[in-house]
């Protein structure tokens, strides 16, 4: 696997070891891109900062919490609502953003007073919310404002509230990944073990590294509940602050995004003896394997099999309709971190796509090990590419689609490559069986969009015919398909609802009587 030299980066010699071409019959010991290093001066990175990684990836998806930034207003405002981590409490955590709004004078005189006033004002404005997280930004960290002392004062004055302080200012590491690490460790060190939960099942898990993007967590929770498993807490999408203080009572930690949340899993494993099981929630086969593994751990494989059978029967014909039309299309998998390996094999095996490149913005070398192992030979693996490198890669690889974030996605559109949002999704959720069909539908809609075809027309010189040119996606996608496929009575387009999550809220689940003697009392012990 030779390292890949971008023409545009020949003048930045350090970049050579950040990209690798996967060759046949070679393995991870031949070459591996460097990762999780400081961005090289002179190259324009698309990464987030450590503050954003702590607050906006991990912290803010907690649903019943006031999330407060101690810093200038730009820090929370510019990173607010960049992800669609919804919740079943009317999306409180994404409707509002809170900040002390530090200004120049506070850099000179400090802003502890403003912090205390803002905390009180926030709790007054939302009297039903009794939990808060406070995040240091660069400015408040540099001047040394003691946010812990202020939080302690408030908790003494207002005994019914609880506050978590996160010390991950923007400069705390090379990328948002540093913030993931900091908040994982701070949460487990300062909050876990403070609440004793009510145990309602013989089978109890924490679901970790899941952020409920457009409802992913609720889809997975539905499967778990159908298996009779109690989801004690979710770290952190749609998760409750107090549930996350009770993580120590789970029997198993189910880990989805290892990039952002393996740290807390590892501490829970060492400190409380809770095993870590890594799973894949994307794609039919990986999803089925994941449910089977969890079923095996608890000795309830039959319940897992029943779900797999029901879901596959329901959704396979719809997935097949898209697969027939996507086969052979080239895709660049350019998400932020974990989706490069969650998707690298399964978009090829199940959707028929050819992965021509994988990249990660903030992933570590471990993510590249997984991604390169899973994608096919011929793919170009890139760590933390700059914008010129992505343009060069797209120009040379000529993908039919980019799966990436909205910033690089807009760049792709400008050079006539359609993209789907790998971070916040287009029409998710994408997890689970139905979710995978929604993902296939979004890919299909992007690749065969008639608007996208029109983007190749140069109205300054091309002749525009006014009497022809009407096309639909299906006219484009079915042009070279076999008649048998087009007329298949088995395969058909997605028939699920516009909002596939709503139906899960308030759903009734089978009751499995508990057989083990457990502590059923819920109380705060911290």
């Amino acid at each position: 696997m030779p390292y890949h030299q971008f023409d545009c980066s020949k003048c930045i010699s350090e970049r050579l070891h950040h990209a690798v071409d996967k060759e046949p019959n070679e393995n991870l010991t031949d070459a591996l891109p460097l990762g999780y290093l400081k961005t090289i001066p002179g190259t324009l990175s698309e990464r987030g900062c450590a503050y954003c990684g702590a607050k906006h990836v991990i912290g803010t998806p907690m649903k019943d919490v006031i999330h407060l930034s101690h810093g200038p207003i730009g820090c929370p405002y510019d990173t607010w609502q960049t992800k669609r981590y919804i919740s079943d409490n009317d999306d409180f955590q994404i409707k509002y953003t809170f900040a002390t709004g530090m200004k120049e004078k506070h850099i000179i005189f400090g802003a502890k007073k403003e912090l205390k006033e803002t905390i009180k004002e926030s709790f007054r404005a939302f009297p039903n919310i009794k939990r808060m997280t406070i995040y240091q930004a660069c400015a408040s960290a540099l001047i040394g404002d003691d946010i812990d002392a202020v939080a302690k004062e408030i908790m003494n004055e207002m005994p019914d509230v609880d506050i978590f302080c996160c010390h991950s200012p923007g400069f705390a590491g090379p990328s948002q990944s540093a913030g993931h690490h900091v908040i994982n460790i701070e949460w487990v060190d300062t909050k876990v073990g403070q609440v004793e939960p009510e145990i309602t099942s013989d089978y109890v898990i924490n679901y970790i590294g899941e952020y409920n993007i457009q409802g992913d967590q609720e889809v997975m929770q539905d499967y778990f509940k159908r298996m009779g498993i109690q989801v004690l807490s979710t770290f952190t999408g749609n998760g409750s602050y107090d549930d996350l203080r009770a993580m120590h009572r789970a029997q198993l930690n189910i880990l989805e995004c290892a990039r952002s949340a393996e740290y807390i899993c590892n501490v829970l494993r060492k400190r409380y003896g809770i095993p870590r099981m890594d799973i894949d929630g994307f794609g039919f086969k990986p999803m089925a394997t994941s449910l089977r593994k969890i079923g095996l751990f608890f000795g309830i494989e039959d319940r897992a099999e029943a779900i797999i059978e029901e879901e596959t029967k329901r959704w396979q014909p719809e997935l097949d309709w898209y697969v027939a039309r996507l086969k052979g299309k080239k895709i660049c998998l350019w998400p932020g971190g974990s989706k490069l390996w969650h998707w690298a094999h399964v978009v090829h095996d199940e959707l028929g796509l050819e992965v021509v490149s994988v990249y990660t913005k903030f992933g570590h070398q471990g993510d590249m090990e997984k991604g390169i192992s899973r994608c096919e030979a011929g793919a170009l693996a890139i760590d933390d590419p700059n914008e010129l490198e992505t343009i060069e890669a797209m120009t040379k690889l000529k993908p039919d689609l980019i799966a990436t974030g909205k910033r690089p996605g807009e760049v792709a559109k400008k050079i006539r490559v359609p993209y789907i949002n790998a971070h916040a999704y287009h029409n998710g959720p994408y997890k689970g069986f139905e979710g995978w069909v929604r993902f296939a539908r979004d890919i299909y809609n992007a690749i065969y969009s008639p608007i996208h075809q029109l983007s190749f027309v140069d109205i300054s010189k091309d002749e525009i015919s006014q009497d022809k040119g009407f096309v639909t996606r299906q006219m484009l996608s079915d042009k070279n398909l076999d008649e048998a496929v087009i007329k298949s009575g088995e395969m058909h387009e997605y028939t699920g609802e516009y909002d596939s999550v709503k139906k899960l809220r308030g759903k009734k689940y089978p009751q499995y009587p508990m057989t083990k003697k457990v502590n059923k009392k819920k109380e705060e012990i911290g």
Binding site: G273, P275, P286, T289, K293, L296
Partner: protein
């Protein structure tokens, strides 16, 4: 078609690297423990030996191992192998995992004391 133990082992290695995640934990000691325990339990399942399930960790290793063995029904030759060959193949498999992911790994984080 005749297949050597080596070619069979290669096939299984590729399957694990592509479809499973347990071998990629982020520290050297963790990868060693995962490889040893999960490959160990897979070997015991394949050889019909008694399996230790004393702790939740044991059960987790076993669930990963059993899941893989169940999926390997797609390799019909596995059922026809004798115990000696299975043990040889599985020990080579563990050695290869250790080599790629631990001893010759290019992942600098595995031993980074600040990580």
């Amino acid at each position: 078609m005749y297949m050597t133990v080596e070619s069979k082992e290669n096939m299984l290695m590729n399957y694990i690297m592509k479809n499973y995640l347990w071998q990629f934990n982020s520290r050297t000691w963790d990868r060693k423990a995962q490889n040893e325990n999960i490959i160990g339990k897979m070997t015991q399942i394949l050889c019909n030996e008694k399996i230790k399930m004393d702790t939740p960790a044991d059960r987790c290793y076993w669930a990963e191992a059993k899941s893989l063995i169940d999926e390997w029904k797609c390799f019909p030759w596995l059922k026809k192998m004798n115990i000696t060959d299975i043990k040889l193949m599985m020990s080579t498999l563990k050695k290869d995992l250790d080599t790629q992911l631990i001893t010759q790994s290019l992942n600098k984080e595995l031993t980074d004391p600040n990580y």
